[in-house]
Amino acid sequence: MATTVLPRATTYSRSRAYEWLTTTDHKKIGIMYVASSYFFMCLGGLLALGIRTQLAVPNDTLIPNALYNQLFTMHGTTMIFFFVMPMLAGFANYAMPLMIGAADMAFPRINALSFWIIPVSGLLLFSGFAFGGAASAGWTSYSPLAEAKYSGIGQDLWILALLLNGMSSILGAINMLVTIFKLRAPGMTMLRLPIFVWTVLVTAVLLVFAVPVLASGLVMLFIDRNYGGSFFDPAAGGDAILWQNVFWFFGHPEVYIMILPAFGIISEVLPVFSRKPLFGYKAFVLATVSIGVLGFGVWAHHMFATGAVYLPFFSAATFLISVPTGVKMFNWVATMWRGKLRFTTSMLFAVGFLISFLIGGLDGAFAASTPVDFDITDTYWVVSHLHYVLFGGSAMAIMAGTYYWFPKMVGRMLDERLGKVHFTLMFVGLQLTFFPMHLLGLAGMPRRIAEYAPTVWQPLNVVATIGAFTIAASMLQFLWNMFTALRRPADAPDDPWDANTLEWATSSPPPPYNFERLPEVRSERPLFDLKHPELRKPATAAAVVVSPGSGH
C-alpha cells in the first residue's frame, strides 16, 4: 500500500475570525459556501412564504402588486444564484479535492475570491429593496420590461450582482477543472473518478461555456439601460427576442449546472447506503457527458410561444435529452436493487430525490411537445415542473449531501431522529406545495400573477400554501439540528457511514493537508477496496506499490 507522511502545517496564532476571513483552505471555503447558501435559502424561502401567503386568497390585497413582483423576482434569483449554485460549489469545493486525494484546489487564493464574491454580490442584489425597489422583471429579466423605461434602479443592481456572481462561478469552474485534471492521486485514472467528481467536471465545463454568454447579455442590457444602447428594445430598433435567445443559451445549461452535481451527490449516497457499487458507472459517465453536450442545443424550448423559434429542432432535442436522464434513473434504481439498504436521513433524502425528480422529469417532457407546450407554458404547470426538478431534485440532493458530509466537515453527527422528522416534513411539504400546481396550470392559472380571480383556484392554492409553511417548519427544525450538533463534542469517526471514497480515509474533519496516508487507488471505490481486500481480483494483487510520479 502506497503511503506517505507529510510535514505538519503550522498552526495559526491569530483569532479564529481572522483565520476564516483569510483562509485559502478548500475545506473552510467549502463550509463557508454551504453556510452562506443556507442563509440565502432562508431569505429566498421567506420571499416564497410571502408569495404563498398572498396567493392563498383570491384577489388578495395583502401584498401590493409592485412588492409581489419584487418577491418572485428576488425569490427566483436568490434561490438559483445564491442558494443552489453556491451550495453545489461548496460541496464540490469541500469534497472533490478530498475525493481525488489532493491537498487543496489548484488555485487556493482564487478559490477564496470566488467565495467572497458571493456575499458581496448578494448584498448588492438585495440593496435594491433599500433603493426604491428591488429588481422586479422576473429572474429571466425579459426585455423590453427590463429596460430603463419600465424598470428602476433595482434592475441595474440585479445586473451588476449577477455579473459579479457570474465571475465567481467562472473562476470556481476553472479551479475545479484544473484541480480534477492535474491533482489526482496516483492510480486515479479518469474512469476511476467518483461520479460526483465527474458531475462536477461536466458542470464546470458548462459554467465556463454558458456563464460568459449571460455576461454578454447582461452587459448589453446594462448598455441599453444606461448608455443609450438599442440592443433589446424594439422601440429603439432593437430585438426583444434576442434577449431571450442570449439569456436562454445560458439559461438552459444553467439548469443542468444546478442538477448535475445533485445527480453526483445521489450517486455517492445510494451506493454507500445500498452497500453496492453504482450500477453502470461507465453508462453514467456517458450519460452525464451527453446531457452536458445536448444541454447546449435545447435552449429555445423556453421560447416556443414566441413564434420566433424553429420548433421541430428544439422539440426533437428536448425529447432526446430525456433519454440519458432516464438512463440515470434506471441505474440508480438498479444500484438499490438487491442491495442492503440502510435508511439514514441521507439515504431517505436520496430516495425522496428519486421519487420527486421522476415527477419533475416527466412533467417537463410534456413541454417538449410544442402543441401541448402552447397551453402549459407560462402557467403554473411550469412552476410545478421547475420546483419539482430544483426542489424535489437539487434541494433534496443537497439535503442528502448535507447529512452525508456534515460529520466529515465539522466532526459531529447530525441527529438522525431529528433528520427523519426533517425529511418527512420536507418531503410531504414539497408534494403538497408543488403537485397541485400541475392542476392549476391546466386550469388556466398563469404564472407570475400577483392575484387571481377564479375562486375555483383557491382550494389548491391553499394546499400549496400549507405545503410551503410545512417546508418552512422542516427547515427551522433542520437549522436547529445543525445548531445543536455544532455544540456537541467533535467525536465523529473517520468513516461513520462505511463509505467508499477517499474523503472517508482521513479524520473528521481532515487535517489541513487532508491526508496523513492515501490508500492505493484501483477503482472508483478506493476505501471500499481497502476495507475489502477479500474482493480484490487475484490478477491485480501484484500491483501494490505505486512508484512516485507515475501519474495515470
Partner: protein, 198 residues
C-alpha cells in the same frame, strides 16, 4: 515513499504531473470563457445583420482604410513580438525577452491610442441605434481586453526586468502570451466582421 508528495509540491509549483502547467491550463480555460463572452456579442451582431434589409444601415458604413487597417497591422505585429519574447525565454534569453515584451507593450498601447482616435472621428456613437450599440460594445470590450492584456504584459515585463524568469520557470510569460494571441485573434475576427464582411 512519495505517492502523495508530488501533489503537495505540485500544487505549489504548478507542474503536478507531466503535461500542461496548472496555471497555464487555468489561463486556457479563462480564455475559453472570454471567447464565449465575445461569442454572445457576435451572436447579437449576426442576429441583427441577418434580420436587416440594409446592413450596415445608411450612414454607418465604416472604412477599413487607412486607420483600422494600420491598427490591425500593429496588433498583429505585436503578436509576433510577443511570440518572439516567449521563444527567447524558452531558450533562457532574458534580455531578448524583456526587449520584445517592451516592444509588444508599446505596440499594444499604440493600438489603444489609435482606437480612441478612431472613435473620436466616427460620425456615430453608442447611442446611434442598433449599429452604434453593437460597434462600440464589441470594439469597446475588445479594447478593454487589450488593456487587460497590456497590464499583464507590464507585470510580466517588470518581473522579467527584475530577473524573476528563467528557462525553467516562466509560466507567467507563457500565460500572458496566450492571452495576447487571443486578444489579437478576436481583433482579427472583429476587423473582418465589421469592416469587410459588413
Amino acid at each position: 515513499m512519495a505517492a502523495t508528495t508530488p501533489q503537495v509540491t505540485a500544487a505549489a509549483h504548478g507542474h503536478a504531473q507531466k503535461g500542461m502547467d496548472t496555471a497555464l491550463m487555468g489561463m486556457m480555460l479563462f480564455i475559453a470563457s472570454e471567447i464565449m463572452f465575445f461569442a454572445g456579442l457576435f451572436g447579437a451582431y449576426f442576429t441583427f445583420r441577418g434580420q436587416a434589409q440594409v446592413w450596415p444601415p445608411q450612414g454607418f458604413e465604416v472604412d477599413p482604410f487607412p486607420l483600422p487597417a494600420i491598427l490591425t497591422v500593429i496588433l498583429v505585429a505585436s503578436s509576433f513580438t510577443m511570440q518572439y519574447a516567449t521563444i527567447a525565454i524558452r531558450r533562457g534569453d532574458r534580455t531578448a525577452m524583456n526587449r520584445a515584451l517592451a516592444v509588444t507593450l508599446l505596440l499594444g498601447l499604440i493600438f489603444l491610442a489609435g482606437q480612441l482616435y478612431d472613435y473620436s472621428n466616427l460620425p456615430f456613437s453608442i447611442r446611434s441605434g442598433v449599429y452604434g450599440s453593437l460597434f462600440f460594445t464589441m470594439t469597446g470590450f475588445h479594447g478593454a481586453h487589450v488593456l487587460g492584456g497590456a497590464i499583464g504584459i507590464f507585470v510580466v515585463l517588470s518581473r522579467g526586468v527584475s530577473g524573476q524568469f528563467s528557462k525553467e520557470h516562466h509560466v507567467a510569460v507563457e500565460a500572458v502570451h496566450w492571452y495576447w494571441h487571443f486578444v489579437d485573434v478576436v481583433w482579427i475576427a472583429l476587423f473582418f466582421t465589421l469592416y469587410f464582411l459588413r
